[in-house]
C-alpha cells in the first residue's frame, strides 16, 4: 500500500482525522468486502494527487468497531469527507474517482465549509 494513505484506528482517529488541518477522506472498509477492494487503489491515486492539500485515511471496520460505530457506519465501502473535525459529505458504495475528487475540490474551494 502506498505510504500516501494513512491507517486510521480507534486509538488514533482523533489525531489523524478529527484534528487534521487539511480535509480528510476516510475510507471505511473490510477485507471481506468485494467492492471495498476497488475503492483502495482509486483512493491511492487521489491521495497522490492531493498530497499536501488533503489526505486519505483507511479504517478497517472489522478491527476498529468503535470509530465505525460512533460514525453510524452500516454499509461499506463508505467514504466520509471530514473538514475541521466534522463530516461534510458521505459517499456510500464503490464509486469512480471523479466522485471523490469532486467533493474534495468543492471543500478545497470553500464551497462546502461552514
Amino acid at each position: 500500500m502506498s505510504k500516501k494513505i494513512e491507517i486510521g484506528t480507534d486509538a488514533n482517529f482523533q489525531d489523524v482525522v478529527i484534528k487534521s488541518e487539511v480535509p480528510v477522506l476516510v475510507d471505511f472498509w473490510a477485507p471481506w468486502c468485494g467492492p471495498c477492494r476497488m475503492v483502495g487503489p482509486v483512493l491511492e491515486e487521489v491521495a497522490m494527487e492531493y498530497a499536501g492539500r488533503a489526505k486519505v485515511v483507511k479504517v478497517n471496520v472489522d478491527e476498529n468497531t468503535r470509530v465505525a460505530g460512533s460514525m453510524g457506519i452500516r454499509s461499506i465501502p463508505t467514504v466520509a469527507l471530514f473538514k475541521n473535525g466534522s463530516v461534510e459529505e458521505t459517499l456510500v458504495g464503490a464509486r469512480p474517482k471523479q466522485d471523490f475528487t469532486a467533493v474534495l475540490d468543492k471543500v478545497l474551494a470553500g464551497k462546502l465549509s461552514n
Binding site: 468485494g34 476497488m38 487503489p41 457506519i73 454499509s75 461499506i76 465501502p77
Partner: protein, 312 residues
C-alpha cells in the same frame, strides 16, 4: 496511455465471467485483446459467498476465488487488463471509439459484458437510508447487524442467499416476498424454510422504510391484496429484488428490449451494430448464471474473432 491509440482487435467491456471468458477466447484465437474491468473487477460474484453450481468444483468455491482464478487466466493467455470506467462509446463507424477515464481507445470489435447491478424499489425512504440501514449487499454489510433484526426484500435466489447469509450475524431475518411461494431454486428455498432464524412474510411488499437521524428503525409492509399494513421494528433492510442491466454508457446506440437488456440475434451474441457483441447478464433476462455468462462470453470471443477474419 498515448494520445493516438491504435485499434485493438477486440475490446471487452466488463470484468465478470462473461467478459473474462470472451477475452480468453479472443486472445487464444490470435487476436489482440484488452479487457476493461470497471469499478467492480469480478462483477457480482465478488459479493457472493459459496458458488455451488459452477461446474468443476466438487467443493464449493467462493465467488471472489472463482473470479480471481478467471482473471489470472485472462492475464496468463495474454489479454491486457485495464481498470477504468467506460464513459461513452461511439459506434457510428469502425474502429469504434471508447472514452475512458484515462483517455480514448479504439476497437475493431467490441464485446459488451457489463452485467447488471442490484435494482432498488425506488422508494424515497429507501434512497434516504441507503448506507444507513438500507443495503443491497449482505456479504458487505451483514457484519453491522450482529444480534440485530433485519429484513430481506425479494423471493429469488439472491434474496434466499442474502437471507441465509444474514442468519450468521442477525438474530432474526424477515424475508419479505410479494408472492406466496419463493421463486428461488429448490435447494435454496428448502434451506430458507428450514432455517429457524428466518421468518417468512408472504404476500407482503415494502411500503416504507422507517427511521430517524441515526438510520433505519423499522419497515412498514403492505399486503397488496387487502391493502393492510404492518410495522416491524428492525435495524437493516437488504433489497434483493433483481437486477438492472448496465447499458447507460451506450447512449441508446444498441437495440434493447423494454427492460433495457441488449438484444442479440438468435443463437448468437451479435447486437444491432455489426462488430459489436454482447455476453452475460447485460443481454440475459432469463438465466443470469455465472456459467451461462461464461458460455455466452465464449460465443462472443469466437464470433468477434470470426468477424475479424471475414472483415479483415
Amino acid at each position: 496511455m498515448s494520445d493516438t491509440p491504435y485499434a485493438k482487435d477486440v475490446i471487452v467491456i466488463g470484468g465478470g465471467p462473461a467478459g473474462y471468458t470472451a477475452a480468453i477466447y479472443a486472445v487464444r484465437a490470435g487476436r489482440t485483446g484488452l479487457l476493461i474491468e470497471g469499478l467492480q473487477p469480478g462483477g457480482q460474484l465478488t459479493t457472493t459467498t459459496d458458488v455451488e453450481n459452477y461446474p468443476g468444483f466438487a467443493d464449493p468455491v467462493t465467488g471472489p476465488e472463482l473470479m480471481a482464478a478467471m482473471r489470472e487466466q485472462v492475464q496468463r493467455v495474454g489479454a491486457e487488463l485495464l481498470t477504468d470506467q467506460v464513459e461513452s462509446v461511439d459506434l457510428s463507424e469502425r474502429p469504434f471509439r471508447l472514452k475512458v477515464g484515462k483517455g480514448e481507445l479504439l476497437a475493431r470489435t467490441l464485446v459488451i459484458a457489463t452485467g447488471a447491478e442490484a435494482r432498488y424499489l425506488g422508494l424515497e425512504s429507501e434512497q434516504r437510508f441507503r448506507g444507513r440501514g438500507v443495503s443491497a449487499c449482505a456479504t458487505c454489510d451483514g457484519f453491522f447487524y450482529r444480534d440485530r433484526k433485519v429484513a430481506v426484500i425479494g423471493g429469488g435466489d439472491t434474496a434466499a442467499e442474502e437471507a441465509l447469509y444474514l442468519t450468521n450475524h442477525a438474530s432474526e431475518v424477515f424475508l419479505v416476498h410479494r408472492r406466496g411461494e419463493l421463486r428461488a431454486s429448490r435447494v435454496m428455498a428448502d434451506r430458507v424454510l428450514a432455517s429457524d432464524k428466518i421468518v417468512m412474510k408472504w404476500n407482503r411488499v415494502l411500503d416504507e422504510v422507517l427511521g430517524d437521524d441515526a438510520g433505519v428503525t423499522g419497515v412498514r409492509l403492505r399486503d397488496p391484496g387487502s391493502g393492510e399494513t404492518e410495522e416491524l421494528e428492525l435495524d437493516g433492510v437488504f433489497v434483493a429484488i433483481g437486477h438492472r442491466p448496465n447499458t447507460a454508457f451506450l447512449g441508446g446506440q444498441l437495440e434493447t428490449d423494454e427492460a433495457g437488456y441488449l438484444v442479440t440475434a438468435p443463437d448468437s451474441t451479435r447486437t444491432s451494430v455489426e462488430g459489436v457483441f454482447a455476453a452475460g447478464d447485460v443481454q440475459d433476462p432469463v438465466f443470469r448464471q455465472a456459467v451461462t455468462a461464461a458460455g455466452t462470453g465464449a460465443m462472443a470471443g469466437i464470433e468477434a474473432s470470426r468477424f475479424l477474419e471475414a472483415n479483415g
